[in-house]
């Protein structure tokens, strides 16, 4: 911010010489402020949630940012769209449309994507389910057994299975619409859990049991996290954190059906601030499994509400196959 524009004219330099103090004060005052582009994007709700909240908190405490943000909102672009710009953008639209039509993994060929990747998805789910069977003591299917055989002495089997499972999930995810991308949520606890902590031993025990699972989740070790969350479902049947983070872990592993099951269970519990997130990830699990009809009402409710997931849900609704919106 402390540099002069390269094309200053003499009358501007003259003015700056007399107004130097005001400009200097403003520069100094804004040294730790967000760039104006971020102020404007935040006002238009075009920033990711955490960034938007950070800007809002700053603006609430910063006079110059509050004034400038309001000014930016009052100065809408007046871009004149020339014939050449119109033609250029239309040409780009056609090019992207042709690219979508040519690539069966893209949104325009949603149904082609489903059939083309069915085999890949099945393998990913089979490995994930096999890992779960392994945990429950039942005989697992081939892939997990093979992984155990190939890597003797590996501590939790899930980590030997997690790399191929993750790779399969990543391969399947790479062709999904952007609107169905799973963004890992921050780890947080409900107010009830926080209040529970310290009141009695059971509250502290819950947090002690939850901690390793949440650590694995934070470290992107989703297979380990899922393995650690699973036994907590029956031990703490009314705690929403367990099925929620289990569901998201499974989603990130590509186990859309397993994710939906866990998240549906979370939806039946007292959500305490998790309700919108649970609904969002339930919709994602269904959409990524190709169940557009099941996903639609979940996204629609969020799209119509005024919550933090509204924009994402509206985009996801738009990405569903035609006829299911």
């Amino acid at each position: 911010m402390n540099h002069q524009a390269r094309d200053l004219e003499p009358f501007e330099r003259e003015w700056l010489a007399s107004a130097g103090r005001d400009i200097g004060d403003l520069r100094e005052g804004r040294a730790t402020c967000p760039p104006l582009a971020l102020l404007r994007a935040a006002h238009a709700d075009a920033l990711p949630e955490a960034a938007r909240d950070a800007v809002a908190a700053h603006v609430a405490a910063c006079h110059s940012c509050a004034v400038l943000q309001a000014d930016l909102a009052a100065v809408p672009p007046e871009t004149e769209v020339s014939a050449s710009v119109e033609a250029r953008i239309l040409k780009d639209v056609r090019r992207k449309q042709r690219a979508e039509a040519a690539d069966p993994g893209l949104v325009a060929a949603w149904w082609s994507w489903r059939s083309a990747l069915a085999a890949t998805a099945l393998v990913a789910v089979a490995v994930a389910i096999g890992w779960q069977w392994q945990h429950r003591g039942a005989a697992p299917p081939g892939p997990v057994q093979a992984a155990r055989t190939a890597q003797p002495g590996q501590a939790p089997e899930s980590t030997s299975a997690s790399a191929p499972v993750q790779a399969q999930a990543d391969a399947a995810a790479a062709t999904l619409p952007e609107a169905f991308r799973v963004v890992k949520p921050e780890v947080r606890l409900t107010l009830a859990t926080l209040a529970w902590r310290g009141t009695d031993e059971s509250g502290n025990r819950y947090l002690a049991d939850l901690a390793p699972a949440l650590d694995a989740f934070r470290q992107d070790r989703y297979a380990d996290a899922a393995k650690l969350f699973e036994p907590l479902l029956s031990k703490y049947p009314s705690a929403v954190e367990v099925p929620f983070y289990l569901g998201v872990s499974r989603l990130l592993l590509g186990d859309n059906a397993g994710a939906a099951a866990a998240l549906d269970r979370a939806a039946g519990l007292k959500a305490d601030g998790f309700a919108d997130d649970i609904q969002w990830y339930r919709g994602l699990a269904r959409a990524r499994a190709g169940d557009g009809r099941g996903a639609r009402p979940l996204f629609a409710a969020l799209c119509e509400a005024d919550g933090a997931r509204r924009a994402s849900a509206c985009a996801a609704l738009e990405a569903l196959p035609p006829g299911l919106q």
Binding site: A5, L38, D45, H63, P77, E318
Partner: protein, 158 residues
């Protein structure tokens, strides 16, 4: 179908492009976001109720902008270091002769002056960021400086 799309395209292109410009402040990005919005429209043309336009297109544009900002790690990491409870910099540019609270300045003047003399942007950069022409930016800056000179002269006289 093609006719319907082209009609909608021509009808709403300007609104979408201007909105996209306000979200990202760059001409190339704004055009990319705009074309993506119309690609989404093509994909859903049968299901779209025209009364939902241009709102539907603007929502798509906003989502694409959000995707763009999500990838701007540098800018967003900066936000993590922002002091949340920063004391209001009440004196920074404030006061009747300062930029922020001078009643003679309209928002467009204040923004142009801030971008020009605080952020150090050229007229072309300001024009791209605000979605104005360079001539408009030059005019706003010149007029704003005239207003400030008159305001300062008026204060001295009184």
């Amino acid at each position: 179908m093609a006719e319907k799309f082209e009609r909608i395209y021509h009808q709403h292109l300007t609104a979408v492009l201007r909105f996209a410009t306000s979200l990202v402040g760059r001409k190339d990005l704004a055009e990319d976001i705009t074309s993506n919005a119309f690609v989404a429209l093509l994909r859903n043309l049968d299901a779209i109720d025209e009364e939902q336009l241009p709102g539907w297109l603007l929502t798509v544009a906003r989502n694409r902008a959000r995707d763009y900002w999500r990838k701007q790690a540098t800018e967003l990491q900066y936000l993590e270091s922002l002091p949340r409870s920063q004391a209001a910099d009440a004196d920074a540019g404030a006061g009747p002769q300062g930029l922020l609270d001078n009643p003679v300045l309209k928002p467009v003047h204040r923004i142009c002056l801030t971008l020009r003399y605080v952020e150090g942007m050229t007229r072309a950069e300001i024009a791209e960021f605000l979605g104005l022409s360079e001539m408009q930016v030059k005019g706003h800056v010149q007029y704003a400086l005239q207003l400030l000179r008159k305001s300062a002269a008026g204060s001295k006289a009184s």
